[in-house]
Amino acid sequence: MRTIKLYLRFFAASLKNALEYRLGFLTEMFTTIVFYGTTGLTLWILLDRFKVIKGWTLYQALFLFNLNVIAYGIAAFVFYWSMVYMEQMIQRGEFDIVLIRPMNSLLYTIMGRNYPSFIGHLILGAILFVICGVHLAIHVTALKVVFLVLDIGGAVLIHSALFVMVGALTFWIVRSYSLFDVMTNTFDHLIDYPVSIYGKAIQGFLTFIIPMAFINFYPARFFLQRTGDNLFNPVLQYGTPAVGIVFFFLAYQLWKIGVNRYESTGS
């Protein structure tokens, strides 16, 4: 309870900080919307020409893409900046400060380093959801809404786990920029399209090793009631929340091992 209160305090501070530079905040939001919007536009160009990709129509593919935009936006809001910053904290020995605080080290690391401009993702996400909802005529039921919330929660945890893993691995490799790039950009790019287009090896990789297929592919199959492209086992389409919790737990264990390994810098 105390932690949540503290977190909200820090959040309020970072939001105020962002709003202090109103122009900067707005242009940042604009940038994230345009950046992800162009990926959406790429999908539109492809499917305007080819009509379907592995049986997925334009709006189905956009729905899939959108689940990832929202999950990434929320996870990045909480973890992006602090995990990018880990590299510098470890190189300069600034992580010492985290260790002497009477608080969980991961929580303290992320406090006050929110990234409010990721609100842009949520705006884009809301717009895309409305567009997809209208075109796909998804029948909204209470059960589906509950599932949507749970799935997004699970997806956010998967993305968060990836951020935390990169942050934790920084304790070993110190220079983590390209690892960060691979884990958060390259893999993210893989799930812009339905995972069913890939070969079995990559499908397995994205399901069982780096479970990014659970962020959007399996949930989207459920919401769009797709009967085709059944990978591995149909039960996987309900797996996102559980996978999210397990994967985040593993990431947290890695973080703890990393913190124990940390030995400041000299001088």
């Binding site: 242009t27 940038t31 345009v34 160009i45 492809l46 020409r49 592995k54 490799i173 220079r175």
Partner: protein, 266 residues
Amino acid sequence: MKKYLKFIQIAFKDRLAYRVEYFFGVVGFFFLFLAQLFVWRSLLGQSQQAASNSGVVTLKEMTTYVFVVMIVGIFMRNNIIENMSIRIRNGLIAMDLIKPINFKTYLFSDMIGKSFFNFLFQLLPVLALGLIFLRINYPTVPNFLLFCVTVAGSMVIMFLLSFTLGLLAFWYQSMWQLNALLWAFISLFSGMYIPLWFFPKMLVDISNFLPFRLMYFVPISVFMGKVGLVDCVYLLLQQFLWIVGLFILSRLMWRTAIKKLVIQGG
């Protein structure tokens, strides 16, 4: 000239120093390459070909396209905007200005050194592996030479564009935004993900007015022999005009920026 060759060498060595960085770079290329291949395989479907704005395109051609995108991409990626904005914001630029070097040429040499390292040691292994499993169309010798010339041209365009935008750091703080917007435009209009053959007409018209098409799409089309000799001359001329235009613009901006520059003592 000699000192700039040295800069190229230093950039090369700097990349060698971080092996984990290097490893994940390779992993990144591998997955990007694979993703694009699978996307086109499933889009073209059973027939393994599709109609486009310029005739039928086969799966083998698209494989070639993705293959060359990876190569061209190496020479387009650089961290000039980021590098410049850091130097300008924390005043390091003052040190660059008092050294007996041309700042712009220094950045250019740095870019060349890094690009060639990335090409030789990160991308080449991935492509060599690809060639074992994939069949692509190889270019004729004249086409290959023309390809090299157009890539060199697009590299200069990319450099000047980054440098000019980077100079905006003298006036504007959040440079990563401009960088992100630049790449948003590049990824859409350059043909990096989708060749312009598959674009709706309206977007083709827009891209004709932008330099981005000249960076990826044009060199790759030349590689694949899709461009006639007359058109090729015309496209090289376009590249040349963009280079001249951007060069003049960057000169003007550099002069204004340097006059504005005040470094805090200390």
